[in-house]
């Protein structure tokens, strides 16, 4: 996970087809763009706009040994560990959510040394993506200094500032092999317009070497062009566009649906007693048995979906 040389980074970008072209494909086709062992960055944060449909497709496809990074990791981290899709996660916080307490699945895998949870501060994660997005090897920052987090972080360096003499931390750029980002809408070329909270997604898309977008709906390029100042991820960074309604269920998608709280409670219950067996049972029931994404949503249940949808519109009903 070292910092790329500038020439390597440029060569990787140049080798891509960055032209304005139709990139629409299925979840299964998009999953083939990810190779075991790669570094995959996940958009969204905690229980918001998590690219669950794409994670679901990758776990079903049997991808392994990914290094996964995200601002804050929720249940998808448990499932990546439990499925073997990843045994190395870089993030600032890892558990389903404060109200559910510490993740027992995360604990089981990390405390037994079978999986690694590499911790960085929240801002450090953000600035690592930002450095990657800007094409520079590092960003200077002023936190993490003096802490145990810094002692265990891989590759950060301190610098005596040549302008002020102050001690600064330089955090190394992240240029993930692939970023998976779920959006409210984009066109067939990958121009994405995000509403509400953008988290680290904009920097992540610019930093990554490939981007797979899942989207609640595909809109025309004409619609995008009517409000170009709303486009937050440009087509030129995007390699695949997959239309997946409720693509971040059971997490939320701003303005459309809130988290599926009962389902999240169900997951917590299933993993409460025997976390590993519970996670495996969850994977079997919700990831492997359904034959498609609609089947997955069906297992979560219609009533739950309608309730999340009703609550989700509240931001615009106010």
């Amino acid at each position: 996970m070292g910092v790329s040389s500038y020439l390597d980074l440029r060569a990787a970008t140049r080798a891509r087809d960055r032209s304005l072209r139709d990139k629409v494909m299925s979840l299964e086709e998009a999953a083939k763009l990810v190779t075991s062992g790669e570094h995959v960055a996940l958009g969204g944060c905690t229980a918001s706009r998590t690219p669950f449909a794409m994670i679901w497709a990758l776990i079903r496809a049997g991808v392994t040994d990914l290094t996964v990074s995200r601002s804050i990791i929720s249940t998808e981290g448990d499932l990546l560990y439990a499925s073997g899709a990843s045994r190395h996660i870089m993030t600032s916080w890892f558990s389903q959510g404060i109200v559910w307490g510490v993740s027992k699945v995360m604990r089981a895998y990390t405390e037994s040394g079978r999986a690694r949870f590499e911790e960085w501060s929240h801002m450090a994660m953000g600035l690592r993506y930002r450095a990657g997005a800007m094409g520079v090897p590092f960003m200077p920052m002023r936190s993490m200094l003096g802490s145990g987090v810094l002692d265990r972080a891989e590759g950060a360096k301190t610098l005596e500032c040549p302008f002020t003499g102050e001690t600064l931390l330089l955090v190394p750029a992240l240029n993930p092999d692939v970023a998976l980002i779920h959006v409210q809408r984009c066109d067939a070329y990958g121009n994405a317009q995000l509403d509400g909270l953008t988290f680290m997604d904009i920097d992540m898309a610019m930093a990554a070497k490939r981007v797979i977008l899942t989207t609640e709906r595909i809109v025309s390029n004409e619609q995008i062009r009517r409000a170009p100042d709303q486009t937050k991820i440009g087509f030129f960074t995007v390699d695949a566009v997959v239309e997946v309604p409720f693509g971040s269920a059971p997490h939320e998608c701003y303005g459309l649906y809130e988290p599926f709280y009962s389902h999240m409670d169900l997951y917590a219950e299933m993993t409460a007693k025997d976390p590993e067996a519970g996670a495996q049972a969850y994977l079997e029931r919700f990831y492997h048995e359904p034959t498609n994404w609609a089947g997955y949503l069906e297992r979560i249940g219609m009533a739950e979906l309608l309730d999340a949808r009703r609550r989700g519109s509240s931001i615009y009903d106010d």
Partner: protein, 273 residues
């Protein structure tokens, strides 16, 4: 210091016994006492749970112009009673906000110096205000792997901190197992020497009292006790020597009005049970 005490609704112990206070939980006590530390016009970076409840309580009492920030990228929201967000990163956090920005940018506001107070809960704290939310036991072979820093390290590195937590001996330790979020590190000037010249621990609010830090040694000390709490009690619940002044202040108990607001905000008692 006097101003701080007065502002925080503290009364000197020798001013007399406080009147009978309405019944309240320890969490409600934390929220009320923390809210009183916030001032009109300040900008507060708040975590969910007690910190958020306290910030909203302050907005609805003495600090209507308080600006709340969430690490999800939210500036100046008004959270709806009964719809407290499950984290600082969902749309519930954004209700009627003034501005939404990226996570990185809201954290950079902290670095730029736009945040007065960072406000969060704590799992384990030590004498110099260092906080641990990463590992119980040895980090290389932990007994418990905790969820980690989130924005905690950034907030504690860059803002004046208020920490609200239960006062238990296992939580108030001589030295934290792991410094997730820096307080004054090893005391004295060690925090500034590490490259953290700004911010630092301001107050620790517990169910037993309000604590501050000695300006020189940077060690924790008692500033005030809640009504009915003795110096012996608070010392007995603390895993390191804790100075308690002879004329230590006693806090004013939560008022019925303050408690009513908290109960309106969290009717299901998710955070205040």
């Amino acid at each position: 210091m006097t101003t701080d005490l007065a502002h925080a609704g503290l009364a000197r112990a020798d001013l007399g016994v406080a009147p009978a206070a309405p019944a309240h939980t320890a969490s409600e006590l934390l929220a009320v006492m923390s809210a009183r530390l916030l001032r009109e016009g300040q900008t507060v970076f708040a975590g969910v749970g007690i910190p958020l409840l306290a910030a909203i309580l302050a907005q609805r009492t003495h600090a209507p112009g308080l600006t709340i920030l969430f690490e999800g990228g939210v500036i100046g929201p008004f959270v709806e009673p009964g719809k407290l967000p499950p984290s600082t990163n969902e749309q519930r956090c954004t209700r009627r906000a003034n501005m939404l920005v990226s996570i990185t940018d809201v954290l950079l506001m902290l670095q730029r110096g736009y945040v007065d107070v960072g406000f969060m809960g704590g799992a384990q704290i030590d004498r110099y205000g260092n906080l641990n939310s990463s590992f119980i036991g040895d980090a290389d072979a932990p007994k418990i792997r905790l969820p980690g820093t989130g924005g905690g390290n950034d907030i504690a590195s860059l803002a004046d901190m208020i920490v609200a937590m239960k006062h238990e001996k296992r939580r108030f330790v001589e030295k934290v197992d792991f410094v997730t979020s820096p307080g004054f590190l090893r005391g004295g000037s060690s925090r500034a020497d590490a490259g953290l010249p700004a911010g630092g621990m301001f107050r620790v609010v517990t169910d037993l009292g309000i604590l501050g830090f000695d300006p020189e040694s940077r060690a924790m000390m008692v500033l005030a006790l809640h009504p009915g709490v003795s110096a012996e009690t608070i010392r007995a619940h603390t895993g390191f020597p804790l100075p308690v002044p002879d004329d230590v202040a006693v806090t004013e108990p939560p008022t019925a009005g303050e408690l009513a607001i908290l109960r309106e905000l969290d009717p299901a008692r998710l955070y205040t049970a």
